[in-house]
């Protein structure tokens, strides 16, 4: 597969690893946060941490779309399916995120909810066309990559006057999350986990471009390297971050220049701006309520807003007490620091959202990396 296989070459990886090992200064330690779940997955899937020297440590960030959904948002979706009787369409991983009362969308489906996994908003629109007598709600989650398709779906529904279609909008914003982490008292105060730099998102950046990261680099003096999702991309980005740290630089560099420009995809940004506006505040799992960190549907398209249509109010629900997802999403704790990791909480019976998707830190560590925790 062109432009994929070349970026997965194990031989090249070895040399990159060697280079990182040489550049990393033994007397200091490097902690880099990969913001994106896609990077988390690549790191675990390819066993990248085995290739890094012990003093270069990757910290998982809050960029797994399902991980940051608070329980109350899943509860709203379940309510739509079970109480309002809608056809609820959603992306696959969302199905297993734990909600209140031991439910999840998967379990709500087993209880009779008409919940359908879709691969694209186009599928959800088609389901709405095919079931004119039913209400069809698309449970829209994700960062800036999944937002433009949702915007297009609403524009399309508007044009077709598809009056049985609506969207439960839970789209969130990457820059707001990064700010929150950088301003989190824990992250700033807990001396043992300083973040020395960020691997910037791949797909998100194709949409928003590299410019939004310039603020962080300057304001918080943190180097950012935007990287593709392939393992060599990640290795290269780490190398570039080590260099910046060594050289005392804090710049935005673009390892993923083959797909990311400084300004991003203007057409996609326009569509998003047409349909959505900033939410005054939004609760994230692990990051608490973050001001202006999410999108809501504009008044003009209000008839496609499931929250308006079904007169729903968001109810905050506390996470399971034992669950450390919040600290993990902020990069303060690691999965293995959670007392119930791998026992009560497993991918089959996730207690927290980080145990659901393979982009979640706990699931990635459980599925790919927990051999490291074992006493040999």
């Amino acid at each position: 597969m062109k432009y994929i296989d070349e970026f997965r070459d194990g031989e090249v990886a070895k040399t990159l690893a060697l280079k990182i090992a040489r550049l990393a200064q033994p007397e200091r330690s490097y902690s880099f946060m990969e913001f994106c779940g896609g990077h988390t997955h690549a790191i675990s899937r390819y066993g990248l941490s085995d290739l890094l020297p012990p003093n270069v440590r990757m910290v998982h960030g809050p960029g797994c779309p399902v991980c940051v959904l608070p329980i109350g948002r899943i509860d709203m979706a379940i309510d739509l399916a079970l109480k309002q009787g809608v056809i609820l369409c959603t992306y696959g991983d969302t199905l297993r995120v734990p909600a209140s009362e031991g439910l999840s969308l998967m379990k709500a489906k087993a209880r009779g909810g008409d919940i359908r996994m879709v691969y694209s908003t186009l599928d959800a629109l088609q389901i709405a066309r095919d079931n004119p007598e039913r209400e069809v709600v698309f449970f829209a989650i994700g960062f800036e990559t999944t937002t433009p398709p949702t915007a297009l779906a609403i524009l399309q529904a508007h044009q077709e006057q598809l009056s049985n279609f609506s969207v439960l909008c839970c789209h969130v914003l990457t820059p707001a999350a990064i700010s929150q982490i950088l301003e989190s008292p824990e992250v700033r105060q807990w001396g043992t986990v300083p973040i020395d730099g960020f691997i910037g998102p791949a797909h998100v950046s194709t949409v928003i471009g590299s410019r939004p990261y310039e603020f962080f680099a300057e304001e918080y003096r943190k180097p950012v390297v935007i990287a593709g999702f392939e393992p060599l991309d990640v290795m290269q980005a780490i190398l570039m971050l080590v260099k910046q740290v060594n050289e005392g630089r804090a710049e935005v560099e673009n390892e993923f220049a083959r797909a990311v420009s400084r300004d991003g995809n203007q057409k996609a940004q326009d569509r998003v701006a047409e349909v959505f506006e900033l939410r005054r505040e939004f609760e994230w799992r692990g990051l608490a309520v973050v001001p202006y960190s999410a999108l809501m549907i504009r008044e003009k398209y209000g008839s496609f807003d499931a929250e308006r249509r079904f007169k729903m109010d968001y109810q905050s629900v506390p996470d399971n007490k034992a669950c450390e997802c919040g600290a993990i999403l902020r990069g303060v704790k690691r999965p293995q620091d959670c007392k119930i990791f791998g026992t009560v909480c497993t991918p089959e019976n996730p207690v927290g959202s980080c145990m659901v998707s393979s982009e979640g830190a706990c699931a990635a560590h459980y599925s790919y990396g927990r051999y490291k925790d074992m006493t040999p």
Binding site: M1, K2, Y3, I4, E6, F7, D9, E11, V12, T15, L16, L18, K19, R22, Y91, Y119, S120, T121, L122, T145, T146, P148, P149, L152, H203, T206, V207, L232, D233, Q236, L239, E255, A257, R258, A259, V260, S261, N265, K267, A268, R271
Partner: protein
């Protein structure tokens, strides 16, 4: 990208990845040509892949490799 401009609004395309062909939407991306490579997400092309930049990145890897090989 093996076919471009199908569908009623002309913003559909067929992509080929290692022998797998799939219909995707070009509604978020302009000026796509047959032969272009694109970044895909949930059925949409999000951006074009710049072959020159890709080569440059790959060259960067190789360069590293050489410099390491030379050093060791």
């Amino acid at each position: 990208m093996i076919e471009v401009g199908c569908g009623p609004a002309g913003d559909w395309a067929i992509v080929d990845l290692g022998g797998v062909k799939k219909e995707i939407s070009l509604a978020l991306l302009d000026d796509v040509q047959v032969g272009d490579y694109v970044i895909l997400h949930v059925g949409y092309a999000l951006s074009k892949l710049d072959p020159q930049e890709a080569e440059r990145t790959l060259a960067l890897f190789s360069e590293m490799a050489e410099s390491v090989a030379a050093a060791s």
